[in-house]
Amino acid sequence: MNVFSLALANVLALRRRLFGLVALVSVAAAVCLGALGIAGRAQGVTDTGVKESNANRSITVDRPADRPGTAPLTDRTAARLAKLPHVESVQHRAQVSFGVLTDAGDTVLLYATTHRPALTPPITKSVREDLFPLRPGEIVTPATSQGVDLSALVGQDVETETTRFVRPGEGTGVTGHARLVGVYDPTWQLDNPDAAYAADPTVIGWAAQRSGEPEKNYLATIGYDQLTVVARTAADVPEVTEAVQRLGYPAVTLQQQLDALPAVLEMIRVVGQVLLGVLGVLAFVGAVTVTGALSRQRAQEIGILKAVGFRTRAVLTMLVVEMAVAGAVAALLGTVLGALLGSVAAALLRGSADLAPYVEGWVLLPPPVTLLLLLALTVLVVAAGSLVPARRAARMSPTDAMKDW
């Protein structure tokens, strides 16, 4: 009889005795897969949403505040930076503080900010599909800020308070109106935690009003508060950064700022990786123990097989294949359980505003390649664990194995 079909028949017949191993390995695999699935998906969201975007190629240039010889971040400066080698584009940002007054009487202090196409915030609720470019009088705020849920106000006109210059160090409040057309995930903090995006003329207008400078001169004299230089490729970023710095401007890259996942997801990933190690050890030790115990119980059987002409190698193959099949069953069960576990965890995480944008989809499993690799690895580890005890059993002489003849 074929060794493989015999091994399969044995697994079926001995399934009760293999149950413990299968349960152990499948639960470990499930937890591991669930954790890796969530973390992997979150990583994927970050990768596609941020890393492959312009952000990874962006260099932030701030005002040369304490350098008198260096020109402010005017349109001319922007044009100059745009001519540096390996620069794809230069985008500007102006920012000025203002307040939003809610019906409940709260004042939320925000920063009116111009939108840069290279760095679009993750919108979670909006009145229309393509929010940007914004029209004058429209604002986009964080979903929550300073404890106030602003997402409830989407689509409404809100009262705003801006500042008018009176004399240096003194201003007076001016009330106005803006339409809240969308909110974004508050974990997006590239433009400060309380950035509220508005159309360029709106922001420049408010900023000029606050500075006392005529609006038409503002960009030529005071200029933007930040420029974003986008390099052609991510590899050009260091060189471009240096070039900008040589011109006397403080410049930092966004790469560092974007590297970190939210802490919880990072922790889940670490847990997943630790569990992967634990799974490996569990599967291995489990296979060693179960194979050892089973082959002691089945010494008689092994002796019979050898007596009727099975070679040592055939018996070894049979025992290892049995364990590999058990490992495969465990891995498949683990995948199903892992998918369930991942979905439950995803549903829980989706309840958290900070994490929701990273948890896409309902059934979270690692990508197919990783999944297959994990499954193969589980089978391999279980089979490897069975090897030594199986070899010991298979090499017994038939008469020794069947002592009670």
Binding site: M1, A9, Q300, A307, V308, G309, T399, W405
Partner: protein, 235 residues
């Protein structure tokens, strides 16, 4: 008939409390096709040891065993484990006192276990053999669901699955009632009549009387006699 299994000058000793005890000394034994050969002797006289040596399950300390291979006699001394396993599988059939079926598998699968040919033919052959030992209806039963006599007949069918020229049986009726014993002995007789060599280890006089040749092991040596039956049929 021709010699299908032969022990030549076989010696075997086991260590016992620091000294070696000779179980077999210079034993010569020939098992011929077409005959039932019985091996008798009191308990501990070395019958099982000799059967295991003839069955290539144990290596002798001295002497050699010659087995009838597919292309004539094969001297098995110096053969590796795999070659010995191959000879056991194809050229020898074993029946044990305690049946030694795999408890988790059906009668059919137990019979099929050593089968060396193609799967589709194997199943048909296994069913034919089960029918031959009167168990056609019990092919799908587990050993635990069969009586001792039935299990032993499954074991006999298993021994025959590769059509070996020699059958070795160690106390095959030791655990059986007289009816089952008679049934089994009848089957052994059929096998001998087909030209196979049948070697029965027994301490049961009823079994040895049934044999054509009886060898008695005494203090490690063989004393041989032909039975009444053999003398009668030779005339």
């Amino acid at each position: 008939m021709n010699a299908l299994l032969r022990a030549e000058g076989v010696g075997k000793s086991y260590p016992l409390r620091g000294r070696r005890v000779d179980v077999l000394r210079e034993v010569d034994l020939t098992v011929r096709g077409g005959e039932i050969t019985a091996l008798v002797g009191h308990s501990g006289s070395g019958k099982t040891t000799l059967l295991h040596i003839l069955g290539l399950l144990t290596q002798p300390d001295s002497g050699r065993v010659v087995v009838e291979g597919a292309d004539g006699p094969v001297d098995t001394s110096g053969l590796g484990d795999d070659a010995l396993a191959g000879l056991r599988r194809r050229r020898l059939g074993f029946v044990f006192q305690s049946y030694n079926l795999l408890p988790q598998h059906s009668a059919l699968r137990n019979v099929l276990l050593p089968y060396a040919g193609r799967r589709a033919e194997g199943e048909e052959r296994a069913r034919t053999l089960l029918a031959r030992v009167g168990l056609a209806e019990r092919a799908d039963h587990l050993p635990g669901e069969l009586s001792g006599g039935e299990q032993q007949r499954v074991a006999l069918a298993r021994a025959l699955v590769n059509d070996p020229p020699a059958i070795l049986a160690d106390e095959p009726t030791g655990n059986l009632d007289t009816d089952s014993e008679e049934l089994l002995l009848g089957l052994f007789r059929e096998l001998a009549d087909e030209g196979r060599a049948v070697l029965l280890v027994t301490h049961n006089p009823a079994v040895s009387e049934f044999a054509d040749v009886v060898h008695r092991l005494e203090r490690g040596a063989l004393v041989t006699s032909e039975t009444q039956r053999k003398k009668g049929s030779a005339k």
